[in-house]
């Protein structure tokens, strides 16, 4: 008898858009406390994989969290287990930042009428999410008046406010300046150290290499390589998958990878 694996386990994931398979037979696990970086060129299927785990797409295969199929969890329970931060900022109204982050508590509240009578515990989680993302000072501002970087941090705070053991974040640092990129990567790292699992889509190979426990390199919907950064981010794989030459080196025992030249047009 095998023990029920803790954390996220994806097995044989295949996703089709129409008749075309955009993700084929993908399998991976993310243990509690582990940060998995999902990398790959544009169109490799990274966002599609994350959406499938979040149950936003039809798929074939098996996606389990702590031994339970995510697809068969009751909606509310699933919402407490899994937080999803989409790539697109789709926020519509000029809602207050505090109210927006508070929406992350929705899975813990009655589903109708007032719906969101916040408890002190809820408020503490929201405050902590705002502090962690350095957006506490923004809490009274209107979301639509924020800069791109501020929006990204506030949306991340919203996802953290769900306080779920599995976080799926699709390019949360794409809109951030270098300082905030490092800040957010550190905070995501700490989020994992509290025992949470994290699947992170990102493009910055240096940050991926420095902060992720493991990387999964997708190429045209297939797993090209997965493992530690040293194993995955080799000059050969970068050439083959991205078509680039990179400057690779080490600084204070940490690798850096700088895309330098195109190998193919």
């Amino acid at each position: 008898m095998t023990a029920i694996p803790a954390g996220l386990a994806v097995a044989g994931l295949t996703i089709r858009h129409g008749s075309r398979a955009v993700v084929r037979d993908l399998s991976f696990v993310v243990a509690p406390g582990e940060l998995l970086g999902l990398i790959g060129p544009n169109g490799a299927g990274k966002s599609t994989v994350v959406k499938a785990i979040a149950q936003l797409l039809r798929y074939q295969g098996d996606i389990q969290f702590n031994g339970q199929a995510i697809a068969t969890m009751p909606t509310r329970e699933r919402a407490r287990h899994l937080a999803y931060l989409s790539q697109d900022d789709a926020v519509q109204w000029p809602i207050r930042v505090w109210d927006l982050v508070a929406l992350g508590r929705h899975p813990y509240h009655g589903s109708w009428w007032r719906g969101a009578a916040m408890s002190d515990a809820d408020r503490a989680v929201i405050e902590s999410a705002l502090h962690l993302t350095a957006s506490w000072s923004l809490r009274e501002r209107r979301f639509t008046e924020l800069s791109g970087g501020e929006r990204a941090r506030v949306r991340l705070a919203r996802a953290l406010a769900v306080d779920a053991p599995l976080l799926l974040a699709d390019e949360p640092i794409a809109a951030l300046d270098p300082q905030h990129q490092l800040g957010v990567m550190r905070l995501l790292r700490e989020h994992c150290q509290r025992g949470n699992s994290l699947v992170l889509v990102l493009h910055d190979l240096t940050l991926a290499s420095r902060f992720c426990d493991r990387l999964l390199l997708l190429d045209r919907g297939r797993c090209f390589a997965q493992g530690t950064a040293q194993a995955v981010l080799t000059p050969e794989t970068l050439r083959e998958v991205y078509g680039i030459q990179a400057l690779m080196g080490e600084h204070q025992q940490q690798a850096y990878i700088l895309p330098w030249a195109c190998e193919r047009q």
Binding site: K51, Q55, S86, A90, I95, L103, H106, G115
Partner: protein, 326 residues
């Protein structure tokens, strides 16, 4: 004081004014005794059979249009959504005209609201199906315009083919939209549907707040999108369909009211439903009072007045949203 309390007080004030004005000049005490059925028979008739149904109908109509506008704007995540603009009201109107034209009303009094609600349901369902297939906001408005035009064309066809000139006169007067000369029978005809419709819309409130984040993130927060859309489509069709069947199509209330009130609820779409319902009733009552006070050779119709106020407002809103790249 909360925005809801202010609107409620305003609503009660306007309702009193509406009960006190009219062609028959009654004093306040006469009006009150008539209202409670202790004055003369004439006073009782004027108050209970003429003025009170008008006020109650204004409430129902305003509740339905205001709440439905707010709910549709929240669901479609579009400040330009409105039952009139999206063709829901005119589709309900077409249903009602067809029911009149084919004499279905002789089968049962309930046929008129039933057919109107069915057509409202079809229109809302079609709009919804389009948003599912990824239609942009502009497409949605254009489809609404097309639906309205189609409903108007078919309504004109019914008028064109109507054998009897008095039928034509009746249909046209009804189409202009009014809450005057309606009886309690009319009120009771739409009351149950409006009540159920409003409950369905209010049930959608918490999910509408979460939908601010976009459909994907809302869904992962436990919002059942299918249920949410079902609630709002059914709620809109019931409340708007039933009121249109009694009052005719009255436009723009659902557009103007949520827009004016949104800032008072911190732009939270779920919180906007109740104030929009109250605000809708305030607007209808105010417009109805104004058109009764203006001295015109013939009494102005409510639908004409709301369209005269609402259309320029809509134009300004479109121009501004283009500027803000909404």
């Amino acid at each position: 004081m909360s925005i809801n309390a202010i609107l409620l007080i305003l609503l009660l004030l306007l309702s009193s004014v509406s009960l006190l004005i009219g062609e028959a000049r009654l004093t306040v005490s006469e009006a009150i005794s008539g209202l409670f059925g202790i004055g003369t028979e004439a006073q009782r008739l004027i108050m209970q059979e003429i003025r009170l149904p008008r006020v109650v109908l204004a409430w129902l109509l305003g509740f339905a249009l205001g709440a439905c506008g707010a709910a549709l704007q929240g669901l479609l995540r579009n400040p330009l959504a409105e039952p009139g603009l999206l063709g829901i009201s005119s589709s309900a109107g077409l249903g009602a005209v067809l029911a009149l034209y084919f004499g279905l009303t002789s089968l049962s009094l309930w046929m008129l609201p039933m057919v109107a609600m069915l057509f409202a349901l079809l229109a809302t369902g079609l709009l919804y199906a389009l948003t599912r297939s990824g239609a942009t906001n502009q497409t949605l408005i254009l489809v609404g315009v097309a639906l309205s035009s189609l409903a108007a064309a078919l309504t004109s066809l019914a008028l064109n083919l109507a054998p009897n000139p008095t039928d034509v006169q009746d249909i046209i007067l009804w189409l202009l939209g009014s809450i005057s000369d309606r009886s309690f029978a009319d009120v009771m005809l739409c009351l149950p549907f409006v009540a159920v419709g409003l409950v369905l819309l209010q049930l959608s409130a918490p999910a509408l707040d979460v939908l601010t984040l976009g459909e994907g993130e809302a869904s992962t927060l436990g919002v059942d999108l299918v249920r949410l859309r079902g609630l709002i489509i059914a709620g809109s069709a019931l409340s708007v369909g039933a009121t249109v069947a009694v009052t005719g199509a009255i436009g723009f209330v659902g557009l103007v009211v949520p827009h004016l009130l949104r800032r008072f609820v911190d732009y939270r779409p779920g919180r906007l439903l109740l104030p929009s319902a109250l605000g809708g009733a305030v607007l209808i009552l105010a417009a109805d009072i104004v058109l009764r006070l203006i001295d015109t050779p013939k009494e102005l119709m409510l639908g004409v007045v709301t369209a005269l106020i609402g259309a320029p407002f809509f134009l300004a809103l479109v121009l501004r949203s283009r500027r803000d790249q909404l």
